[in-house]
Symmetry: C2
Subunit: 233 residues, 2 copies
């Protein structure tokens, strides 16, 4: 677990001229951005994607970019810079893959939801909830990133939090009821984890309209911001 | 939130000759111990106990002891060295009380369950569960102490974890059923918080007989050990 000292922007690195390439590996797209660039590049992903094919595609797309180090957000649990489990919606070969060796540069790998969480972090004790296919959860406390798996705890009628407010729940419950359950669950989690605020990310966060003031909606830039911040230590 | 670097014993302080007085404030007893002493002193507590009366009793009981600094474990949420809420089973005057000023020595105040948790911490990601009247919970991750309130989350049939495995639950369910629910809840929490191990403390932990290897039973010395460790930073 790393303890990045959180800065609002990767200003120090920028001034020092150190450039970071951030790779956000998703099931549909790989998104890349580097220090000093404004427009991320999207590369197609998919269920056959191996880590070597991913790196080849990223190298081609960013052939004219310069960078000194790489941050990778990957879908799955990460320990000591390596994935512990094959990602659900990608190809084989990810477990234990040595990104540092393959890239020949300093690399930091982190779970993709944790990278997005770090990008939305604003000090204190924060819970990030990813409202996507499933329900992601990451706690950040004084800059220490703590991956959680709250999704599968019981909520109501023998069903889990994820069964209610994951994507299947959204389609089963419909907009209004789904939102009501999101609010109820937010309040349960704020109390149980004694957090100062919650950041909502993931594709379904867009269905939330008004949110209480201790809830913030994340945005697409958070993943990149998190990738830069990984080096702020 | 403090980040003590955890050592197995308060060896460094002991060598340096710095002595810490640890005060563990409970609803029935106040327990005190200091660096280099082996036998804690118990002082009667109760629903009328004010912080001044507590300090007076401690000073009298430890009149012949020498110490340079004081750790206090207090029943309630603590922020910046002060209690945020009056303890349920003590007298008035605790909120905002300035222990440092009253004692004229360096003082660190921490929630009593968190102090016990810190004493049982052995590195990595640990969840402490206090099986007492209620259900206390504290997460420690890389030495960072994160107080939780998991007790009031829903568990089954609209009832909370605390309603099942708190003291009332113990008496309602009986020994065997209560133990089965403790195991079920331990497994839910281990998965949800992705912890390496659980330490069980609190008065009812004695009803647990065999425990799985990722569960450890705390002991009475943990509170004092936690109090010493508060200064290991």
């Amino acid at each position: 677990m790393r303890r990045p000292v959180i800065s609002a922007t990767p200003l120090r690195a920028y001034i020092a001229g150190v450039k970071t390439l951030v790779i956000d590996v998703g099931g549909t797209n790989i998104k890349v951005l580097a220090t000093g660039r404004r427009v991320p590049i999207k590369i197609e992903s998919g269920p056959d994607l191996t880590p070597r094919a991913m790196l080849r595609a990223v190298r081609e797309a960013t052939a004219k970019w310069t960078y000194d180090r790489v941050s990778i957000g990957a879908p799955g649990p990460v320990k000591n810079g390596r994935l512990l489990r094959e990602p659900w919606n990608l190809g084989p070969g990810w477990v234990g893959f040595d990104f540092k060796k393959a890239l020949g540069k300093p690399v930091r790998v982190i779970n993709d939801a944790a990278m997005q969480a770090l990008g939305g972090y604003n000090g204190g004790k924060m819970l990030f909830l990813g409202l996507g296919t499933g329900l992601g959860s990451t706690l950040i406390c004084d800059g220490v990133i703590i991956p959680l798996e709250l999704a599968h705890l019981p909520y109501r009628h023998g069903k889990t939090y994820e069964e209610y407010i994951g994507d299947a729940g959204y389609h089963r419950l419909g907009d209004g009821d789904w939102r009501r359950h999101v609010f109820t669950i937010i309040d349960l989690f704020v109390a149980a984890l004694v957090v100062d605020y919650i950041v909502l990310g993931g594709g379904n966060a867009r269905h939330m309209k008004r949110v209480p003031k201790y809830v913030r909606l994340g945005n697409n830039a958070n993943a990149f911001r998190g990738g830069y911040r990984l080096w702020d230590d």
